[in-house]
Amino acid sequence: MSPQLKIAALVSVGRNPASGAPRAARNDVLALDAALALAPQVSVLHAGDAAPALHDYLAYGAASVEVLPLPPEADALAPLAARVAGYDLILCGQRAEAGQGSGTLPYRLAKALNLPVVSAALELTVLGDAVEIVQFLPKGQRRVVRVSLPAVIALHPLAPRAPRYVYASLRAGCVRSAPAPLAPPSPPSPWRSEPAVKKPQKLKAPETRQGHARMLGAIATESKGGALVREGAAAEKARAILDYLRANRLIGF
């Protein structure tokens, strides 16, 4: 742990999936926790309003939360990029719980600052001027990736961290808001959003078949029913299994 490392944790306002109540975003809490494990001094940044939910991050260990004021609907990229320029390590969550939640902000930030970006980070270790990241892959795989500092790193929701909510530090910290800048008019969004009540429709081929063919299609089983090994001794059957596994490269021997 080098003491002069400048680390920023980007935090957004989360949303309880059941009640919709604003709260600290789960992934961003992980980012904050990982940042605090690397350095005692972490700049905790939020672009937007000084929402009350940001106080949660104080409870999770932030000494203070710095709010970069942003007109509603405006893109958080520009103020964040300007603020974190010169930092060694910028940690964020993989996907926000509010707003678009597209998980693209880390990538756009990295592009704006010309930095490498690694997502799905589970653990990170700083080694001199590089950082080694254990990345999540499905099916029980983990990958180790090393990038040189400075870098943008997005934490995976399954990162093995246990952030603690401490009420006393919530009382001790503060949420500071910089003076509001002159708001440039943001371009109208090309997206229209509505409350998600209807289930989204699956894309499927238009049905052109006539009655009988359609009925056959509906009752036909999707699965083909594979090879059947009936005859032979148990050892041959065992070999049939191993042959199948080998032929499909499912085992490495």
Partner: protein, 373 residues
């Protein structure tokens, strides 16, 4: 009550159609046309090609393969492109990693394979360069990718940022020219015009298509970029037994037909697999509840599922829908699991498992013998 009932003649003239069905045409004299019967009933029809003539435009699908095959999520992305393409638009599929399967049935017209993009390599700059080369060469109207964690979600975002193109991620609804996705953590559904880069959520496309793709091979992109800022330090594998079932890639599951649990656990250990169970086996107390697979248990997505002594009730099969290779060991050749399984071994579970262990031990012994020579 002597009213005369109108009666249908059960032997009135009919024709047999090619599907072997009786068709009655009123007024026709009918008969039996033997020539119609030569077409076997219910024969799998060859699907017509989708692409008409030379392509006038392209849609690009890019995805990572695993062990030479694309997963269901990637197949959905290809099907989406095929369903949305106009008859003159060809669907190009760019596969990162080897490919041993035919993508025609999934709607691919032109397939380029990059075996050099090693299975789980991390070379985002190289992959981005390849993808960009194709985007420049073919100028696809849209790029479709599965929004997954094996590299496509990452690469898609890098592509959009690199091209400074609009992107839609976690797309849950696709229509010609339009997409929809969840905002505000699922509370809002946002709709808009289809952007150049589209990352699909799983299961938003029906993959059964009424047509087939041309499936021609295309020279892969060739550009080589020097090793960049990302350094791959290799993979770490977590022992399957230490994994939650949902994450395991190889599962050995026991049903009511397994009497000897230690043998089954030994088989699982030999394969480095996780252990699962059917509900009956769990109800009997042979396994803890968190090992149950099925409708009321866990939904798993292992590449390999070895079902030992499991009949394959629908409630169980529901839990293994996403499993790619299912192997069954069952003493009953007509158990429903044999319809789902890619390989069914008919025989006594205990005998086959013991033989399997012996075979594996022999293999280990042979390997060590070879090494010591």
């Amino acid at each position: 009550m002597n009213q005369e009932r109108k009666r249908l003649d059960p032997r009135r003239p009919f024709v047999l159609n090619p599907a072997g069905l009786r068709r009655i045409t009123l007024g026709a004299t009918g008969g039996f046309d033997a020539s119609l019967l030569t077409a076997p009933a219910h024969a799998p029809a060859v699907k017509p090609p989708r692409l008409q003539g030379d392509p006038a435009g392209y849609l690009l699908v890019a995805a990572h393969s695993l062990r030479g095959v694309l997963d269901a999520h990637a197949h959905q992305a290809i099907a989406a492109a095929a369903l949305l393409a106009s008859p003159q638009q060809a669907v190009i599929v760019l596969v990162f990693g080897g490919l041993d399967e035919d993508l025609r049935a999934h709607g691919a017209d032109l397939v380029a394979v990059l075996p050099a993009a090693g299975e789980q390599d991390f070379a985002p700059e190289q992959e981005l360069a390849w993808l960009c080369e194709f985007v420049t060469r073919y100028a696809p109207a849209h790029v479709f990718m599965p929004d997954n964690e094996i590299g496509d979600g990452d690469l898609g975002r890098r592509l959009a940022v690199h091209l400074e193109a609009e992107i839609a991620t976690h797309v849950v609804e696709l229509k010609p020219g339009a997409v929809a996705m969840y905002w505000q953590g699922g509370a809002q559904l946002a709709r808009g015009a289809m952007p150049p880069v589209v990352l699909l959520a799983p299961d938003v496309v029906e993959t059964s298509l009424p047509f087939r793709g041309a499936g021609e091979t295309l020279a892969p992109p060739a550009i080589q970029v020097p090793p960049g800022r990302y350094q791959n330090r290799g993979l770490r594998e977590i022992a399957a037994s230490a994994l939650a079932l949902e994450e395991a890639d190889f599962i050995v599951a026991a049903g009511n037909g397994v009497a000897d649990i230690p043998t089954l656990e030994a088989v699982a250990a030999a394969f480095g697999a996780a252990v699962g169970a059917s509900r009956v086996a769990v109800d009997e107390g042979k396994f803890p509840r968190d090992k149950q697979i099925g409708a009321t248990g866990k939904t798993v997505s292992a590449s390999t599922y070895l079902a030992v002594g499991i009949s394959g009730a629908v409630q169980h099969l529901q839990g293994i829908k996403a499993c790619r290779h299912v192997i069954a060991i069952n003493s009953d050749a007509s158990a429903p699991i044999t319809k789902r399984a890619d390989l069914s071994i008919v025989g006594d579970a205990q005998e086959v498992m013991t033989a399997l262990l012996a075979e594996l031990a022999r293999r280990n012994w042979a390997d060590t013998a070879r090494e010591s020579v």
